[in-house]
């Protein structure tokens, strides 16, 4: 009776350990469609969205993922994901123009910023922060998704990005927030603020007094310029050209995304497989270690405390079985290490492919921004002279 009790306790421990080490991964194969505003929103009530280059989130990489995360790929993703998000928002037709912003100097009605928290082909997590031109933060949310192999099916891949659900969800949340929290007058106000911020950037002498900041630093419209104000017309002309500049940068990003898509998808698909295998191997190895240890301990107990020959023999056999389990755990761990190396190699391979593209994208964007900014500087001087001529200072 005493032996039965010990065996019972040992079995419970094994079950508990095994259960505790088991992982449950919920994979999504469902598709979240993009919601469209049921109302036909007038054009002057459509908010323009600027999507900032995402933070690669290198500082926030978990120690357990450090080995399998390639920093250069993360940087490449931080340019890739915003473009997909901007395309998604643009296709939703719920907004005005939606652009990936090369810098923060062009004011938009709504800004979407993000930090990539995880991306390994199987799972992706992005923290999104939305603010508006007044400086008010709408919300910060974390979007994560674990996809199935089905998402890499060529037919599915042809239609959408494997993680398109994340982008669609972000777009839907953005629309829901706007519908719930913003009235038409507030939208008009935000558009006015972004326009005046741009005007301030070029002609602060004229437009500084049109905006003020409250205690929290949020912008408020003090007054509006006349629609036929020549200074405003000049600034609007320049803003049209700023949009052209931003549009040109979109073409750079489009080229970059197109160049990156194929190798990146290949990497993600392979990474998906490797990540799944790696995770299973690690879990299997961990289970084997625990189970083997428990069996060894149970066997030792049975062998030491066994009053009969059968019990002692059974205990010794259990110790042997436990040792085998532990050994197989080591084998699994070695196998996992091979897959980890494979992941690293995959990462290095993609890194070699996309890193020059990232550098090229950055170089082109910076060169164009520099040229444009130089022209903007001349226009600022002319606008300042015009202002001086208007007030008779010259």
């Amino acid at each position: 009776m005493k032996i039965y009790w010990k065996n019972y306790v040992g079995l419970v421990w094994v079950v508990l350990f095994t259960t505790a080490c088991a992982t449950h991964t919920v994979k999504s194969t469902s598709y979240t469609p993009i919601n469209k505003d049921s109302q036909n929103v007038p054009e002057d009530l459509l908010l323009d969205i600027g999507v900032a280059i995402f933070d690669p989130g290198i500082d926030e990489i978990k120690s357990s993922e450090e080995e399998t995360t390639n920093h250069d790929i993360r940087v490449a993703e931080s340019r890739y994901a915003p473009f997909l998000l901007s395309e998604t928002l643009q296709r939703s037709a719920n907004w005005g123009i939606v652009r990936v912003m090369p810098n923060e100097s062009s004011p938009m009605d709504v800004y979407v910023g993000g930090t990539i928290l995880q991306s390994n082909g199987e799972a992706m997590a992005i923290r999104i922060t939305v603010t508006d031109s007044s400086g008010r933060e709408w919300y910060t949310r974390v979007y994560d998704e674990v996809i199935s192999q089905f998402s890499y099916d060529p037919s599915e891949r042809q239609k959408n990005d494997p993680f398109q659900k994340i982008y669609n969800t972000i777009a839907n949340d953005l629309l829901a927030y706007r519908q719930r929290n913003l009235s038409d007058s507030e939208i008009t106000n935000l558009r006015a603020i972004s326009g005046l911020l741009f005007a301030q950037r070029f002609s602060p002498e004229v437009f500084d007094s049109y905006l003020s900041q409250d205690r929290r630093g949020n912008y408020q419209v003090e007054r509006l310029p006349s629609a036929d104000d020549p200074a405003l017309q000049r600034v609007l002309d320049i803003r049209e050209r700023d949009f052209m500049f931003v549009d040109t940068v979109q073409d750079y990003y489009a080229t970059y995304v197109r160049q990156m898509r194929l190798p990146y998808d290949s990497w993600r698909e392979l990474s998906y497989s490797e990540t799944v295998i790696l995770r299973e191997l690690k879990a299997s190895a961990q289970r084997r270690f625990i189970a083997g240890t428990a069996v060894v301990l149970g066997g030792l107990a049975a062998a030491a405390g066994g009053s009969t020959y059968v019990a002692q023999t059974g205990g010794i056999a259990s110790v042997g079985a436990g040792a085998y389990l532990i050994k197989s755990g080591f084998d699994k761990r070695a196998e996992a290490a091979i897959h980890m190396e494979a992941l690293e190699e995959l990462g290095t391979s993609l890194e070699n492919e996309v890193a020059p593209q990232v550098i090229n994208l950055e170089d082109r964007t910076i060169t164009l921004s520099g040229s444009v900014e130089e022209q903007y500087g001349q226009w600022r001087e002319i606008l300042a002279d015009l202002y001086a001529a208007d007030v008779g200072e010259l």
């Binding site: 080229t255 160049q259 444009v372």
Partner: protein
């Protein structure tokens, strides 16, 4: 006989007295001529050079217009007669009303100079009561003094330094001082006119926009005309417009290049496009010659190129809901003469707007 001698002496005494009176009258007429031209009796034809100076002085004081005509005549090649010289001197003296020329340096240091200076001051005083003509007189005087530069270097310097009268001590006559300031120094003239201290100086205000010598016909005409605020604004607007054109040409060219690369990347992606991209974008300076537009052409490069339009394919909707990119794709496709490129652009339009997915 005694009586005859007495009459003889008396007649001599009277004659001497008359001569004395005449001489006294002549000497006092120079000083009194400034007070009133009518008070001066016409000099005798046998009068000395001093009487000639007196005459020219009286002429310059009697009427501004006559002084002006004299000055202008002095501007022409003048004969080297003593009379013209004295006229020129008197002109210099009257010019000193608008300038800070040192009268002591004037070559004609004759007896009537002090009287001439007085006449100048009096002329200024009377000018302050009549702003507009006096403004003309002052301008003419300035021109006249400049015209006499060949004869008098001091006068020439004074003419070249407009508005030196503004450096007069503050005790100077306010009317002439403010007017001179406005006529001479453009900058200070602006300030004066803005401050409203230029009483009734409508004629002088026009001078604020023009440098000295333009109206007088002197060497100052070579200098550029100073622009009004409106003209300056027009020029700056024109400069801005040229900047727009240059920028438009540059950015449209860059966009075209980027879109072509994007399309190429899209088509070659299936074959495994590798990194590198399409090279660096041009800078504005690099692109400037390519997109430079003649200054007098108001049209931009894009509008010049968009001369012919091709209708969209049947499956393309009206495009009323197009965003900026779709609209630009549509416009690019509609003006693309190459059928293959045009179809590629329409395909891009379909992809972008989601038509291909429907």
């Amino acid at each position: 006989m005694k009586t005859d001698n007495l009459f003889k002496w008396l007649s001599r005494a009277v004659l001497l007295g008359c001569v004395g009176v005449v001489l006294t009258a002549c000497s006092s007429s120079s000083s009194s001529s400034s007070s009133s031209s009518t008070a001066i009796p016409p000099p005798s034809s046998s009068s000395s050079s001093s009487s000639q100076s007196s005459q020219s002085s009286s002429q310059s004081q009697s009427s501004s217009s006559s002084s002006s005509s004299q000055s202008s005549s002095a501007g022409s090649p003048s004969p080297s007669s003593s009379q013209s010289q004295s006229r020129s001197d008197s002109s210099n003296q009257s010019a000193s009303s608008g300038q800070n020329s040192d009268s002591s340096s004037s070559p004609s240091q004759n007896q009537g100079q002090s009287g001439a200076q007085q006449s100048v001051e009096n002329g200024n005083n009377s000018a302050s009561g009549q702003p507009s003509p006096n403004g003309d007189a002052a301008r003419t005087a300035g021109g006249g003094s400049t015209d006499t530069a060949a004869d008098d270097s001091n006068s020439a310097n004074a003419g070249d330094l407009p508005g030196s009268a503004s450096r007069f001590p503050s005790g100077q006559d306010d009317g002439s001082g403010s007017r001179d300031t406005s006529t001479g120094d453009l900058t200070s003239g602006d300030r004066v006119s803005q401050n409203g201290s230029l009483g009734g100086g409508g004629g002088d205000y026009s001078l604020d926009t023009l440098p000295n010598g333009v109206l007088s016909g002197s060497g100052g005409t070579k200098s550029a005309r100073v622009l009004t605020a409106a003209e300056r604004a027009d020029l700056l607007d024109e400069q801005l417009r040229r900047g727009y054109e240059k920028f438009d040409g540059f950015i449209l060219g860059e966009r075209e290049r980027a879109q072509a690369e994007s399309n190429a990347a899209g088509s070659s992606a299936a074959g495994g496009a590798s990194g590198g991209g399409g090279g660096q974008p041009m800078t504005l300076e690099e692109s400037a010659p390519q997109f430079e537009i003649p200054g007098d052409l108001p049209t931009s490069t894009s509008t010049a190129q968009a001369s012919e339009s091709f209708p969209p394919p049947e499956d393309i909707p009206t495009g009323r809901d197009d965003d900026v990119v779709a609209r630009q794709l549509r416009e690019a496709a509609m003006v693309e003469p190459d059928p293959e490129l045009r179809e590629a652009l329409w395909e891009e339009y379909r992809n972008y707007t989601g038509l291909s997915e429907q």
